[in-house]
Amino acid sequence: MDLTQLAWLIPAFSFIAFFLVVFLGKFLPGRGVWISILAIGGGFVVFWVVLVGFLGADCPMAFGQATCGFSMEWFTAGDVELSWGIIVDPLSVVMLGMVTLVGLMIQVYSLGYMKGDPRLGWYFAVHSLFIASMLALVLADNFLLLYVVWELVGLCSYLLIGFWYERRSASEAAKKAFITTRIGDVGLLIGILLLFDQTGTFSMSGTFEAATAGQIGQGTLTLAALLIFLGAMGKSAQFPLHVWLPDAMEGPTPVSALIHAATMVAAGVFLVARAFPIFEAAPDALTVVAVIGLITALIAASQALVATDLKRILAYSTVSHLGLMMLSLGAFGYTAAIFHLVAHGFSKAVLFLGAGSVMHSMDEETDIRKMGGLRKVMPVTALTFTIGALSLAGAPLLAGFWSKDEVLLAVLDHKNYLLAFALIAAFLSALYMARALFVVFYGKLKDENQHVHESPWVMTGPMVLLAVPAAVVGFIALRVTDTGGFGTFLYFNKAHAFEFSYPLGIASALLALGALWLGWMAYGKGSTLLDPLKARLGGLNRIIENKYYLDDLYQWTIDRIILLVAKVVALFDRIVVNDTGVDGPAKGVRWSGGIIRYHVTGRMYNYALGMVIGGIFVALFWWLLTTR
């Protein structure tokens, strides 16, 4: 049997876990959370089986890559059969590995972090569903199934961000996340429908073949690509739909880790990668992807620089890096983007878990201005956080360094006019990581923080385990085996072994180190906690701190336009449609009856007169109407 076919088990485990924990959790010891962990652990094991199977299997080639999978009927509507099935190719295998590993670690971590929560079972159940949906998304072989799980991912993010729903801010953030991503989903759905309309199938392979064969008009194809990208923008928090992600840290911190590292936001990047044949056939759309990615990267980086909330800084950093991934995709850096996705995923998971660890110890405190010197009391956290931060900052030899280099290389190759901006983004990225790192963990420990202690091993353990790949995963890019590394495993159309461009590498290394040094100078060394950079920015600072007024603009649009329109429509409905259009005629009929009744006067001779007049008319009519 083909071991790759087992891939469907990976999400299935977690789906089953979801139902088991939800419906039976109450009756199980420990509220069944172990089922959840067991399921994802099982998934991780199966992942290795699949990986081995995949490497050994002789899968048919599609777009230059070995692609396995199967599909089965879901239901038939009219004469169209809708199916679900899986696709096992390098892209999905890589994603599977990352999602299962990060997911497993985070779940274990959650055991400690969420200890004592009254809805622990629900938490783990939704967690499982979240991971399951993401895994299914990765495996989906047709757009319909993809859309289904895509929405489920959104639902789970909604449920988890709003996990502490008694908090107004959490429920608002959850709502914001769901609605914002749904706006993107509208595009995605229309795009999918458009493609179906053109090709008559939801199957990805069928659609891609049609797209590459030129069966779809260029304009339509570009439109479809852009619509799909709109969906990706929502999920992957691309400008201007990125506003939900910073708010999303209202959920429990492990959830943020999950969202930022493995599941939610990765979905958008994955989608563009998955649909890359379409994008490739529509280069205009790719340019848009690149530009949007770049804008996102820059804007988010600038905001990360001024944010004072630890999780927000990390969130903006995620947005910024997602922008870089999009930029990379837009610059045909397919491999680079996924590579960066993986590297960033591990790093960001470590960072969030670290942040969670800090918050766990500091009574959910997130304001970095109240921290400082925490490495003294939380050594493990500090160490892992440092690894993650440096990796993201692009410090040489760590994972982020390699992947970012790949991205820059892709930009240089295909969109060189954007390179300068990309470098700025990379620089800023290192700078804000430095800021977060140094302000929180270095410098002087505050008096009120003396009691802070390291987190329990269930939390530190996963952090350590994740810090390892965050540090070393970059090396898979190198030709460590005879197969030629990551670039020859995962590629689009043609294998593209890793090339290290020395000029660019050195430049970006210098850039990162420079930024770190600058950060150390500004934030780490000095005991002052006044943000020196913020002070220099002046008016710009205010704009950035107000998130470029985007939230305000959206709020204003909702309050002043959409709700107003809704009110007007509702009022129209009541006054015009109902009271005038419906009640009006009814009242008119009623009123006319009230008037007509007065012809019955109660006087007999009036009646007689009426009869006579009627009689005369009848007689006359009869006379005049007759045909003879």
Binding site: R597, G602, R603, M604, Y605, V612
Partner: protein, 100 residues
């Protein structure tokens, strides 16, 4: 002298009676006007029978009309009498308890 003479006379008498019904207030006078109308009907019937119909159906009908008219007057007057007892009036515009 032809049928038209009688017919027009009949219509005229009918109209006079009709006017009486429409314009009078006293129920007794209304009743009298109705009798005028019935007489007009009879003139018409008998004239038609005399001039045109060898079977004289009109005359037969007229007999019945007279009979019914007499009965009608009797019954109506009984009701009018009761009305006069109850309300001390026979004017129809004073009996409008029920209207609209």
């Amino acid at each position: 002298m032809s049928l038209e003479f009688f017919q027009v006379l009949s219509v005229a008498l009918f109209s006079i009676g009709l006017y009486g019904v429409l314009a009078r207030r006293s129920s007794v006078l209304i009743l009298m006007s109705i009798e005028l109308m019935l007489n007009a009907v009879n003139i018409n019937l008998i004239a038609a029978a005399a001039f045109l119909d060898s079977a004289f159906v009109g005359q037969i009908i007229a007999i019945f009309v007279i009979t019914v008219a007499a009965a009608e007057v009797g019954l109506a007057l009984a009701i009018i009498l009761q009305l006069a007892r109850n309300k001390s009036t026979v004017n129809v515009d004073e009996v409008d308890l029920m209207k609209w």
